[in-house]
Subunit: 226 residues, 2 copies
DNA sequence: TTGATTTCAGGAAAAATTCCCATGACTAAA
DNA sequence: TTTAGTCATGGGAATTTTTCCTGAAATCAA
């Protein structure tokens, strides 16, 4: 057996990091575990320790998970990133893989599944959570784009889409993405065009209906629908 | 000190539960820790073990955190629920407390804060995360109700609000309401001001969270106003 | 009646958006 | 290697939307 797996854990929630550490330490193949709260420090720690695998949460403050993935990959093309997300929507899976991650699992998995994913990714393979992989396969086979028009958005457009859907102004989104205001304007126009919508409100509705935005209180909404 | 604190942990993510267990076991005042993946089983386990405190995640599949709180409280009015959420929006705090929870903290807290919250709630007090409590106090003091600013909209403003929330453009809304475009613009500005929002996307989000959708005619609006 | 509030809307100014264009980077095909 | 295509980025000008201020008419409660 080779050396132990060095892990970099990126998640803004201390509780969640503690959970991962507990799970990971069940295996004797895992060595040092470094932790980062956000994307910025993750990049720095990555360079410093050269971990065998990065386990990353998607929804983080600051630059966010997607941008973090892109940066890590642009620095080191062989960077092995396993995304662990609370989202079980297919849109995310495809996006994340496109961005350069090597694996995707949701957080409601057993330690065993997590470790299986870690081994796979750390040894250079890919790992998509079986249930999601199934759905993905079906979707692809049935010729229907994963989530219709949203899939047609370019990666950058998707970034902008997410921020706008969350209620950010064009200016705020530009700042968050470190882009010119005009660029975001142009992306926004393209997004509206592709999705066939006119207002930001529609954009937010599309996002919520696709489950891209967590609406927090689904139960009471379900009640209203009846 | 009396007997140890019996905890019921409700979160659909195994990793997160593991994190809590790690944090909680740092204290010798915590005794048994039971776990539930979702609201349904939480109710059952609650009856079975009568825990001193329930630590609950908000965003869960199935009945969801919100509904779970209501059920637990309706069964046992003295049920002590500490909500631990990834959301740091005030809306959630107030709604959760209204639903009957006794505490609210976000997930990016230290073990110490978590334990402080657990002690407080378990011993019959309440605990709101300090930072959020601050904001809440400020909001209340400045007279702006947190969640139901919608109540402050005038009837006409509410009409406009509903249309915009459904994705209509200002022009379309004006036509639908037989108003001048400028009038609708002005109403929109007033609405944004009252709700403290900047974009139509936010408007749509507020509407979804309040469960207001496709309520065009005045009759159903009158119902909502009560 | 009086004062407060709501509804309506116009004009001028400010801000946001669209549309068109150009650049550089990258990729896939010929 | 050349070519063609896409993507991301943003500038400039024109256009559209929104804000802000103003006032008039209507309603309502005290």
């Amino acid at each position: 057996m080779t050396a132990k797996i060095v892990v970099l854990l990126v998640d803004d929630h201390a509780v969640v990091r503690a959970g991962y550490k507990t799970f990971l330490s069940l295996s004797d193949k895992v060595g040092m575990i470094y932790e980062a709260e956000r994307g910025e420090s993750a990049c720095q720690l990555y360079n410093q320790y050269q971990p065998d695998i990065v386990i990353m949460d998607l929804s983080m403050p600051g630059m966010g998970g997607f941008e973090s993935i892109r940066r890590l990959v642009s620095r080191d093309a062989h960077c092995k990133i396993l995304v662990s997300s609370i989202h079980n929507e297919l849109v995310y899976v495809t996006r994340v893989i496109k961005a350069g991650a090597k694996g995707y699992i949701t957080k409601n998995n057993s330690p065993e599944t997590l470790m299986a994913a870690v081994y796979q990714v750390a040894s250079g393979n890919t790992f998509i959570e079986p249930a999601l992989a199934q759905q993905l396969a079906i979707n692809v086979a049935s010729e229907r784009g994963v989530s219709n028009q949203i899939e047609e958005l370019s990666p950058r457009e998707f970034d902008v889409f997410c921020l706008l859907a969350n209620g950010l102004t064009t200016r705020d989104a530009a700042e968050k993405l470190c882009l010119s205001y005009k660029t975001v304007c142009n992306h926004t126009t393209a997004i509206k065009e592709k999705l066939g919508i006119k207002t930001l409100a529609e954009l937010a509705l599309v996002a919520t209906r696709q489950g891209i935005l967590e609406t927090f209180d689904r139960s009471s909404m379900a009640m209203l629908e009846k």
